[in-house]
Symmetry: C2
Subunit: 164 residues, 2 copies
DNA sequence: TATTTCGGTTGTATAATACATATATTGTCT
DNA sequence: AGACAATATATGTATTATACAACCGAAATA
């Protein structure tokens, strides 16, 4: 009852379609002339700041699954554009606290509006039911990815301190 | 009437989750030590050749939504690795016909098996029903993207020859 | 036959990324 | 307190994937 049909074909399809989805999204990256556009990492970074409030560079790297050096450069790029501001943590001089500027918040919202318009048009003939369901599936899928990554990190940590 | 419930939240969620999905997939690109691994474009390119048979460089570029120069370089890279072979078209000296080698076919299948294993583990607690449904949604989503791109190209063409 | 179009390649530039190393601050141990 | 280790971030360097522009040779067309 739990596997009425062998789901391997479905998994194959999912895997293939995700590859295609990702490939296409890369091709959109450069092709955009939308002035509101923010590249994906910038968009996600600002989005995390909108949702989470102040974060450190390291936390951003962790959320975005970026090397901290990459996160650091992105933070600086956004700072140069005036979208975020760094302030030193008063308690710990090593830490930079990263905040949105008002400009950053507005740019994020503008970009989000743009994206939503695009997606709304793209998905215009989907039923509300299907949209909700797809959203839920994607959340679940991302969650699964996230857990599998956490798990492998955990294993790594344990390996590094075996006699703990 | 066209929006019985406000699906904006669902669309927002979808858009956000796709961003996350894509970001994560990029972080996997470099992190892999899987020897069977093929980078995404190579994987898709070989996959198209498996499914479609012989293709030209231009067709590959079109399928992959790559600039033809990029496709050309990728073809050469795969040729250098012995995974594909180019033969000149006997009827039209400009065209290179791109084919899989036996080695290429096997590498593709190995990579596919690897991917499937990973996805099967990732999705192990999904019901067959959900897997099938997610696959269908992804196909539909990619199809929508594809059509919207075709549409915008068509408009562009019409703009270029206005008095047609 | 001269010109244009077409398929593909090569030159060049850019962006996003990771890894190794450096720097400065904080924590810890004797 | 002083020395050393750990931590948070930044910088140097290399790689990779990509696009655009310029080019080349073959084919189509005027």
């Amino acid at each position: 009852m739990e596997e009425p049909l062998p789901p391997m074909e479905a998994i194959d399809l999912i895997q293939q379609q995700i590859s295609i989805l990702i490939r296409r999204s890369e091709s959109e990256r450069t092709a955009q002339q939308d002035t509101n556009r923010l590249d994906r990492s910038a968009y996600l970074m600002l989005g995390f700041l909108v949702n989470e409030g102040t974060l450190t560079v390291g936390q951003l790297a962790e959320f975005l699954q970026l090397d901290i050096s990459t996160a650091s450069r992105q933070v600086r790029a956004l700072e140069d554009k005036g979208l975020i501001a760094r302030t030193p943590d008063p308690r710990d001089g090593r830490i930079s606290r990263v905040d949105l500027t008002e400009e950053g918040r507005q740019r994020f919202l503008a970009a989000k509006t743009s994206r939503l318009r695009r997606y709304r048009q793209l998905l215009s003939d989907w039923s509300a039911q299907d949209l909700t369901q797809l959203g839920a599936y994607l959340v679940r899928l991302n969650q699964a990815y996230y857990e599998s990554i956490r798990y492998s990190h955990k294993q790594l940590d344990e390996r590094e301190e075996p006699g703990r």
